[in-house]
């Protein structure tokens, strides 16, 4: 990512440098060459439409090249690979709370393996923050009430700055941290050390504790939709629309169940707004994703697959918890 942004940046430096040089040279040259001299008066020139067209069109074409290039870089930065390792981030005044699918939690630090795509699923508990890693040239605002996503692939082990770049109050400049990029072996040791169990298992527990299971049954169709396999699939709504059951949809259904009700179900689900923390919502979402992950066959060897770099289309974060469900 960094090199893609830098390439465009250098291109911009060259192009704008040339434009600036052109304008400054002409201004300085004209100012010197045509300075006032007695007996020589200015020569009146009306203007020239062809010239105007030329110096409107050429910059415009150059701008379009910059635009297209910038758009391509942006598009890549905004589209996380489907097999990326998923990490949940909760921002609050003034700290970053990070939860890995494997259950590791950290504050103001994010440990990631080198050469693996990492997707951050982020939300805020209070105001707007922004998750910025200058070295990776990525930044994304983190909003309350919804998930936003960014992703990166670190190429060199090391420790990098993490900044909050959306002003968020008194300790805004203290809302900083470190991105620790580790060699895969080191990372495996770190991720498996002393965790409380995978996030999806926590989610399953909450799912049972809150009584979700009584309506959202996994064997038969209960009073609420069966959630097996629902993640990532289109859902028919009562009002006729169809939405994709992504993270934001699941989140909204938990906190505001009436907003996008599934076709054929009664509006009987209470809201859990205020009853569950952001972390618990993340765990629930991770759980629902895990039961949508794959066919039963894939689940069993998923645990073994996790340490390797998963090249399959199944998301590694989903595969991992799958082994825990049994």
């Amino acid at each position: 990512m960094a090199s893609r942004v830098d390439a465009l940046y250098i291109f911009l430096l060259i192009v704008t440098g040339m434009m600036a040089l052109l304008v400054f040279t002409l201004v300085i040259f004209f100012a010197a060459r045509f300075r006032q001299r007695s007996g020589v008066s200015a020569e009146q020139i009306e203007g020239s439409t062809p010239l105007e067209i030329v110096w409107s069109t050429i910059p415009f074409l150059v701008f379009m090249v910059i635009f297209a290039w910038g758009a391509v870089v942006y598009f890549k930065a905004r589209t996380p690979p489907t097999d990326a390792t998923e990490v949940y981030v909760v921002a609050k005044q003034w700290m970053w709370k990070v939860e890995h699918a494997e259950g590791q939690r950290e504050i103001n630090e994010l440990h990631v393996p080198v050469e693996r795509d990492v997707k951050l699923i982020m939300t805020s508990q209070d105001v707007i923050h922004s998750f910025y890693i200058p070295a990776f040239r990525i930044k994304q605002d983190v909003l309350p009430g919804r998930y936003t996503v960014e992703w990166f692939r670190a190429t060199k082990p090391g420790v990098y700055h993490l900044f909050c770049t959306q002003y968020c109050g008194t300790q805004h400049s203290g809302m900083i941290g470190n991105i620790v990029v580790m060699e895969p072996a080191q990372y495996e040791a770190w991720i498996n050390g002393g965790s409380t169990g995978p996030l999806s298992a926590t989610g399953e527990k909450i799912f049972a504790e809150l009584g979700c299971v009584t309506c959202h049954r996994s064997d038969v169709q209960g009073r609420g939709p069966n959630l097996q396999g629902v993640f990532g699939k289109p859902v028919q709504l009562e009002d006729g629309r169809t939405v994709t059951a992504d993270e934001n949809y699941l989140r909204e259904c938990i906190l505001d169940p009436g907003a996008k009700r599934v076709k054929g179900f009664q509006p009987i689900m209470p809201t859990f707004q205020g009853l569950v923390t952001e972390e618990q919502v993340n765990a629930l979402v991770a759980y629902i994703k895990s039961i949508s992950a794959a066919k039963p066959g894939a689940k069993t060897n998923a645990g073994a697959a996790a340490p390797r770099n998963p090249g399959e289309d199944n998301i590694q974060a989903q595969a991992q918890p799958g082994s825990q469900v049994q």
Binding site: L12, L26, F34, Q36, Y74
Partner: protein, 555 residues
């Protein structure tokens, strides 16, 4: 080109002082109840200068804090209030009124050949609204201030901070009406009060720029007023508008806010472009190259300026596709700005260029505005924006436009028209020195911030002790700010000095084109002894410089 063109002018060397707008009446009430656009312009001049130095003082404290990485000069909350107040004061109480309310107020009626603005009392009302807003802002600052940044982002502003949001919002709300009324007055004056013969294509480009500005003021300012009311409603009444916890949408705030606040940038820069156009024409002794392209580029900027607001939101969580549209449109608005720069440059070609102080400011404007514009191309490039958004790169960029561009133009205009305003000449040597100091100080302050931004230093950080690598550039920047401060104090000193000791100015010391130079310096209350009739094109420098001057003074 007709023969009697230079006729209306009747400059007579004076020994006894003529009656003019300054000496016609004396006393506080003759000023506070005046409906003379020139006197109101001076009232504005005093008030915005006051706010400029308040805002500048805040800037100085900000730069001093950033001299060292640790947050050791002021506390975090104080720092947050400082940059918030710096932004609010400079934008709403200095930059937005600066050129329109001072130079525009003074010159628009004269340039179109009118006795006054269309609604002189509304003009006075606009100043009072500005003062009421300003007093409210001062009161707000003295009793605690605000710490949201001038952008008021919700839900921080609506449900989290416990500073004086509603009061600051109301101050801006009231001052906003002053801006709307000024815009309204200009639009009506330019449409309805032009002197006989002053066709649209003969208008000075200063007028075109103010026309475009006024349209933005009229159409944009109500939106920010509405936004402020919504913030106040959510804050005071807990109506769910922006805060998701109450069922609102925080991005809605950003859309509404930038729908005004992006065009507001053009409220600040367009008048400055108008000033620079007048100065370049005068000191190159030439008609502006491509008059109609420069005129219509102002309108194009005003129109496109309303369609690019979401380029402040590329990382805010808007969809990829809307980001693409707004990036594309941002490049569209860059074209008319580029056209202006090329036309100014071409105007210099085969001119007879004088290096008087106003022209030095215009050169400074050209350099700094070009830099600001070109770095805007970086920010509109989506991929790069993700990296530099909300870093010092953005700070440097918009200061190049709004301080490098707008304030340079404002100072250039103040020098250019000072003889007309005051009837006195300022000391030329000092003025050239000040122009140089401002240019050097400005670049020293803000150029390092581009580098800081690309290195990743976020804006609105009062403490960067974990990133000591940022210090060297911050020290440079602070050093530059002190130089810049000197550069800004100098003109104030010698302008004041000149009011008493300056040499009396002739009616047209620059031998400049334009109706405002065809009346006395300072002008009489109703601007012209008799209604002018315009028979010449704008920027008729060829006639003014012709060796055989028809209609030379009789005396």
């Amino acid at each position: 080109m007709s023969m009697p063109t230079a006729m209306p002018q009747a400059p007579i060397p004076q020994t006894t002082e003529r009656e003019n707008y300054l000496n016609t009446k004396y006393g506080v009430w003759s000023w506070l109840l005046t409906t003379d656009h020139k006197r109101i312009a001076l009232l504005y001049l005093l008030s915005i200068t006051f706010f400029f130095f308040i805002g500048g003082f805040f800037a100085l404290l900000i730069r001093l804090e950033l001299l060292t990485p640790a947050g050791d000069l002021v506390q975090a909350d104080t720092y947050n209030k400082l940059f918030t107040m710096h932004g609010m004061v400079m934008i709403f109480f200095f930059l937005i009124p600066s050129i329109p309310a001072v130079l525009g107020n003074f010159l628009v009626p004269m340039m179109v050949g009118a006795k006054d603005l269309a609604f002189p009392r509304i003009n006075l009302l606009s100043w009072y609204l500005y003062i009421i807003g300003g007093v409210m802002m001062l009161h707000c600052m003295l009793t605690g201030g605000v710490d949201t940044g001038w952008t008021f982002y919700a839900p921080f502003s609506t449900n989290f901070t416990n500073t004086k949001i509603v009061e600051a919002g109301l101050a801006i709300f009231v001052a906003g009406f002053s801006s709307i009324l000024t815009g309204l007055n200009f639009v009506v004056t330019i449409h309805r009060m032009r002197a006989p013969g002053m066709t649209w294509s003969r208008l000075p480009l200063f007028i075109w720029a103010h026309y475009a500005t006024s349209i933005i003021q009229l159409l944009g300012t109500p939106v920010v007023a509405v936004t402020i009311v919504l913030v106040a409603a959510e804050r005071a009444l807990h109506l769910g508008i922006f805060d998701p916890k109450l069922g609102g949408d925080p991005l809605l705030f950003q859309h509404l806010f930038w729908f005004y606040s992006h065009p507001a940038v053009y409220i600040m820069i367009l008048p400055s472009m108008g000033v620079v156009t007048e100065i370049i024409a005068c000191f190159a002794r030439k008609r502006i190259f491509g008059y109609s392209f420069v005129a219509f580029s102002s309108i194009a900027i005003a129109v496109f300026g309303f369609l690019v607001w979401a380029h402040h939101m590329f990382v805010a969580g808007i969809s990829v596709y809307s980001a693409l549209v707004f990036s594309l449109l941002s490049y569209a608005v860059a074209v008319p700005s580029a056209v202006k720069v090329f036309n100014w440059t071409a105007t210099l070609y085969k001119g007879s260029i004088h290096y008087d102080a106003p022209m030095l400011y215009a050169f400074g404007f050209l350099g700094l505005f070009t830099m600001g514009g070109l770095t805007g191309l970086f920010l509109s490039a989506l991929g790069v924006n993700v990296h530099v958004h909300d870093t010092y790169f953005v700070i440097a960029h918009f200061h190049y436009i709004m301080v490098g561009g707008a304030v340079m133009g404002y100072l250039g205009g103040m020098h250019f028209w000072w003889p007309k305003i005051s009837g006195r000449l300022y000391p030329e040597g000092w003025a050239r020195l000040a122009a140089l100091i401002v240019f050097i100080g400005f670049n020293l302050t803000f150029f390092p911030q581009f580098v800081l931004g690309y290195m990743g230093m976020p804006r609105r950080y009062y403490d960067y002790s974990h990133m000591p690598e940022f210090q060297v550039l911050n020290v440079l920047s602070t050093a530059g700010a002190t130089v810049l401060g000197v550069g800004y104090l100098l003109p104030m000193a010698y302008f004041l000095w000149s009011m008493r000791y300056g040499k009396p100015a002739s009616d047209n010391p620059w031998n400049a084109a334009g109706l405002e130079w065809k009346t006395a310096s300072p002008p009489p209350t109703f601007n012209f002894e008799e209604e002018p009739e315009v028979t010449w094109e704008a920027y008729n420098y060829e006639e003014l410089d012709a060796p055989h001057k028809e209609g030379v003074p009789v005396a």
